[in-house]
Subunit: 410 residues, 2 copies
């Protein structure tokens, strides 16, 4: 089944330059889908370092378990990503399937097996036909090239309605470095699972420990600030590879002033990919930004903002273009964070609807309802005098979400 | 707007006997609704004790704040409940409105103001026209009678599709005591809020401290085990009144053997009301029971069960009558509780779909899909060898939920 492109999708796939030390290829292995690419191979130059973060699910996929183990080595030479089957809850067969993919890729690339990363997305609990992947990898190997970003971005999609890519250049100590990323998002058509996969490649030269802390910092401000329906996947994964092909002064640590521009650029790419994932949230009709200020801490502000972002009552109200601030207030209250109700303030668009814990007198909802008719909804919340703030992004909850997730078989 | 009666509603309102020491009346004060009762008054005999639990929301309604304060006294002579306006986030006006209700009721009943409990449910952030309530209370006072349970149950409804009542008799030390309860549930039509109100009255003679611990225990096993859409209300409230009119031996404490039958009977009434609330969940087409066993503790099992119960992916899959056990597994994983994936088992109806962390070989989904076509869905989950278990109840997520919560204005 094919879905119509999200109304919040970008016009076109961005122009992405090659990143020295990274070659890509995509192809069709027919793991589950037919008539489309479902397999991507990325090959990295010797000396490529890697950092990553993985799903917090207590039921992680077999590829996640493998990647968690080998990432300790900090070195990466290859990445294999398939769509259509997530290889989750498959017992020993699941581990054997990962091993088969790793063995095939390592042999082709002539690199150690523990430097081959694997990611899978798609149906859960069905054995992954890894032999199809192993059989297809040689074709991809033959076509490895530096300019395969869009093809790779398309191959890893499940039920996403558009391919997600982001590219930027920045400098380290005056030398230009590139950052390129692709991602797939929260397509959750039965029986697929919501899975967020993001892979970023830079030609910067960064020791693994430094890269790891940069990745964790970017993740905090990007992927941990988005939600579509609060459902964490078994397979969520963010991997960042640094090929070391760029020539620049070596930073001593992640906080080095040398990396200030790079840190911002990496966050820009991560946030761009994260927001594209929300913009492809199932059945989305509105892109919602929720900012919370005055909380006791940034993390407390994030919890409050996500409580609002995940409230079905808030999401349906916005889908209904209804300035129902009472539901926002209730969602703030249920977050169980320390707030000062007497200072509670809520704004929608540029209009304050509640202030000092009560509705603004003689509130005119007309301009607010106008704002809610748009595609981009802005909610600002003040919960007290504290220093904590956070901004999160989410989608609304529509009939199309139900159609996609419940009615597919009917 | 009126909604069609929930397909999971009981056939009829139960037969409820009078409870000595409790008189009731209902009437119309036109707080918001017209052409229907929206106000209930309960008057209790001198010496009536009270126990209660309230919403954990950090944005509690003004009535909740009042009740929390006076319940410390443990004595109750009256209860005033209105529907149509929740009296939440109304600043000083909100407190003044509560005071106006309390003053009017205390004067009529000739009792202390700090023994008058107040509950409100309905729209948030709109000043409560308490003068209409004060003006109507004398009419209700004139009609106070022991047999007004159904009228009271109907007056407190907001967007519920049926009145909720439960009645039973039990014994304390050989003497019969009665337990009667009414509740209103999770109607959440814009701009109303989801609010759970439950009021239970018994003629047992129980000191307030004993009653309070009995109430907390019943709440743990009843109202804390249900969810419709995870949205906690600003006004949720459970109050239990004991009029002391029954003659029976005095228990020394809540754990007294004298109370073993009473504890079970109180839990039966509380659970009956809680399940009726779920059966009236907005847009419900299936009543879902989720049992978790093998967790490290009962509370851990409850968290896992609620994670599954609140997963939009699980709720939509069940609405779609789809045996999508992968979504159940993912929801178990995101609960972030200690589990043993190698022992993970999932059953739907009487059929095991996953065992020892993997799908059952050659799983035949036919009988499972048959079970899912029914109104009552049963999910059993085993997460390890631990002693913890819990059972929760929820509804599915349907188009009708979106209709009710988003499309009302259109």
């Amino acid at each position: 089944m094919s879905l119509k492109r999200s109304p919040l999708a970008p016009e076109v796939f961005p122009t992405m330059q090659p990143v020295a030390g990274c070659n890509l290829a995509a192809g069709a292995s027919a793991v589950r889908y037919t008539g489309r690419d479902d397999l991507a191979l990325l090959a990295f130059a010797e000396g490529t370092t890697v950092g990553g973060v993985f799903t917090r699910s207590r039921v992680p996929g077999h590829p996640v378990t493998w990647c968690r183990r080998i990432i300790k080595g900090g070195q990466a030479r290859g990445l294999v990503v398939n769509s259509g089957n997530a290889n989750v809850l498959n017992g020993q067969h699941g581990d054997a399937a990962v091993r088969m993919e790793v063995t095939a890729a390592a042999r082709l690339l002539e690199v150690p097996q523990d430097q081959i990363f694997v990611a899978s997305t798609g149906v859960i609990g069905e054995p992954l036909p890894a032999e199809r992947i192993a059989k297809t990898l040689p074709d991809l190997y033959a076509y490895l090239a530096p300019d395969g970003w869009q093809a790779a971005a398309e191959a890893i999609l499940t039920t996403d309605t558009f391919a997600k890519g982001s590219f930027t250049t920045t400098t380290i100590g005056g030398s230009e470095v590139k950052i390129a990323g692709i991602a797939k998002g929260s397509g959750m058509i039965q029986p697929d699972m919501a899975t967020m996969l993001a892979f970023i490649v830079t030609d910067a030269a960064l020791p693994a420990p430094i890269l790891q802390s940069l990745v964790e910092a970017a993740n905090e401000e990007a992927f941990r600030k988005i939600t579509v329906d609060s459902d964490t996947s078994t397979s969520d994964m963010l991997l960042v590879f640094a090929t070391g092909q760029a020539v620049h002064p070596a930073p001593m640590d992640a906080d080095s002033g040398l990396l200030s521009a790079f840190r911002h650029a990496l966050l820009d790419v991560a946030r761009d990919l994260a927001q594209q994932i929300v913009r492809d949230g199932e059945g989305i009709s509105k892109f919602i930004q929720i900012s919370v200020e005055g909380a006791v801490s940034d993390e407390s502000a994030r919890i409050i903002a996500l409580s609002v972002a995940n409230s079905p009552l808030v999401k349906t109200a916005i889908a209904g273009e209804d300035a129902n601030w009472g539901r926002i207030a209730a969602a703030i209250g249920k977050a169980d964070q320390q707030i000062d109700v007497s200072r509670l303030g809520i704004g929608i668009g540029n209009w304050i609807v509640a202030q000092n814990g009560a509705r603004v007198p003689n509130l005119d909802e007309t301009p607010i309802n106008e704002h809610l008719k748009g595609r981009e909804i802005d909610i600002v919340i003040s919960v007290g005098p504290g220093p904590g703030s956070a901004t999160v992004w989410t989608s609304d909850l529509t009939h199309e979400y139900i159609n996609i997730n419940a009615d597919y078989r009917s």
